[in-house]
Amino acid sequence: MHDSYDFKWEDLGDLSDGRPNLGAETSVIVYRLMQYTFKDVFSKKLGKQKTVELFVKAGTLAGQQFCRNVLDTSLPFSQFMAELKEKLISLKVGILRIEAADEEKLQFVLTVSEDLDCSGLPIFGESVCDYDEGFIAGILEEYTGKKFMAKEVDCWATGDRTCRFEVKPVEALDGPA
């Protein structure tokens, strides 16, 4: 057995071949069951902080791969975001909306409604979309070639009806060099 695994898009498999009857889709319950049981097990093994870090990291990898394999990175920003929005709707991930965008500074405020990770959850009092944070940052990293940080400032689980993310390049967070 290998010590580590390197993800490849092809590893998602040929679903038309593998699931000729059940197809490519599954239920949100099953997705959440997997995610929240992972969280349960990881947090007990690694601690909550480390678990969050790993979820963000995995989300970033997913966002990069998603961008590389599903989206057209040659499009100008507005068209790219329009395509991303359409894809996220068609894949039933969530409804992405932009509230503010500074294309020069690459700083954005995005919301995701009907989010796959959290919409409909009980109010936990803290945001839970760690994987989403990474996913959004990963997509923008792949598109711009710069490292991004996405911070969820509002979440269904904190009592909001939509998840709100503040997204900035990492260098902006570090301050000018």
Partner: protein
């Protein structure tokens, strides 16, 4: 305080709110939960007080949102405010989208907002269609080989396509807002300035009439006049005159072609009316002119005479000295005769070695004198090869009822008599029927 009393207090509070609204102070929970002695009722009252607070906060939050304040906040645990938060997020996104659309981003779509989504997305597809039409129009005006101006109803230039700029030599910012009849269409073909009230383009623009000018000029930036063909059509907005579209093209090349064509036509006409060897009129031109001259003389009752002459024994010249020498004799003879005629006399080669002269305003006597003078000059001229030649002349004058045939025949008969009489002489025919 017993439960019944608490409920009565609450009912009174709610009754007031339901009849008068929440008012400035909102719903005021009528009981101090801390003062409730019953331990089971106390937490219930605390929760009810919290619900009252949530209702008040939601009300204020909704008020802010209804005023368009998208920065408004509500507590995270306020369960009544939650749908409003969704609405707030949608409004914030729509605000951003509207800004994007205003800046030309037509990729925006609104999802899952019912009829609003339909209306917004319909607006976007209409704008896309409009943009496509604008792009097509822009493309057409950009590649069009004609200059195009759009002017307002006073003649102020509001648009010009690249070809227009190229032709007149201005940058758009140099002529934007300028009056087209003051900066470009201000001169006539001969260079004189139009009087403001007589400028036909200005009059067409301000009256909404069509105007075409196939032979106008634009004053270019360089000051040069550019020959143009121009079409002006009125533009109406909501049935009110809003200006005009003016399309024009540079016709310098066409004008040059026209000039060349005119030169060619002139040459062809000359060739058609001129004798190639001697350069004087040919028989065809003479006949045409002769007919006109007879009519004129008859109308104004002025004298007109006709002289026909030919070279004696010219065949011998050709046979002895060759045709080149014969041609040379003809050319020298023509030069000699022409130099002794007036401007108004028409001199033509009748054919071979035979020539005709029509002499307007000249009586028979005058014509006879002229013929004799010419005969003598020819007889005494040195033609080199041969040195000497002689000529015979027939002379006559126009009489009443003459036509070209009768007039020429009479002169011809006189020439015949001169030949028969021994050549080198002038014979005239009187107007026998006068």
């Amino acid at each position: 305080m017993d439960p019944r009393k608490i409920l009565e207090e609450l009912d009174a509070c709610l009754k007031k709110a339901m009849s008068q609204g929440l008012g400035k102070n909102g719903l005021v929970f009528p009981i101090d939960p801390a003062a409730v002695e019953d331990e089971q009722l106390r937490p219930f009252c605390h929760r009810l007080a919290a619900v009252f607070d949530m209702v008040n906060e939601s009300y204020k939050y909704a008020e802010h949102l209804s005023r368009g304040d998208l920065k408004a906040k509500s507590s995270r645990n306020n369960i009544f405010a939650m749908p409003l938060k969704g609405l707030q997020a949608s409004l914030a996104h729509l605000t951003w989208q509207a800004r994007q659309v205003a800046e030309g981003d037509l990729n925006q779509q609104v999802h899952f907002l019912g009829e609003f989504s339909d209306s917004f997305n319909h607006m976007i597809s209409s704008l896309r269609e409009k943009k496509m039409i604008e792009q097509r129009l822009e493309l057409i005006t950009n590649v069009l080989g004609e200059g195009v101006f759009l002017v307002d109803s006073h003649g102020k230039i509001v648009f010009a396509n690249p070809e227009a700029m190229r032709l007149i030599g201005y940058r758009f910012d140099e002529i934007e807002g300028a009056l087209i009849h003051e900066i470009l269409y201000k001169q006539q073909l001969n260079g004189t300035l139009y009087k403001p009230e007589e400028n036909p383009l200005f009059n067409a623009i301000t009256s909404g009439n069509d105007y075409n000018d196939e032979d106008g000029v634009f004053t270019c930036k360089s000051g040069f006049l550019m020959p143009i063909s121009l079409v002006c059509r009125a533009v109406y907005k909501d049935n009110i005159l809003d200006g005009a579209v003016i399309a024009f093209r540079d016709i310098t090349v066409q004008k040059k072609h026209l000039q060349t064509l005119e030169a060619i036509n002139e040459l062809l006409e000359k060739q058609a009316t001129t004798d190639a060897l001697t350069g004087i009129f040919n028989r065809m031109k003479f006949n045409k002119s002769f007919t006109n001259e007879i009519q004129r003389a008859q109308r104004y009752n002025t004298p007109l005479s006709l002289i026909i002459f030919d070279i004696d024994h010219f065949k011998q010249v050709n046979d002895t000295y060759g045709h080149l020498a014969g041609d040379s004799v003809l050319k020298n003879l023509v030069r000699l005769v022409a130099s002794n005629l007036r401007e108004i006399d028409i001199f033509a080669r009748w054919g071979g070695e035979e020539f005709v002269i029509q002499t307007p305003e000249t009586s028979l006597d005058g014509a006879i004198k002229l013929a004799e003078k010419l005969r003598s000059k020819i007889e005494n001229h040195d033609f080199t090869e041969p040195e000497k030649i002689t000529t015979s002349f027939g002379v006559t004058s126009l009489k009443k009822g003459d036509n070209t045939i009768s007039f020429i025949n009479r002169a011809d008969e006189a020439l015949y008599r001169a030949k028969k009489g021994g050549r080198n002489q002038v014979v005239y025919m009187e107007n026998r029927h006068d």
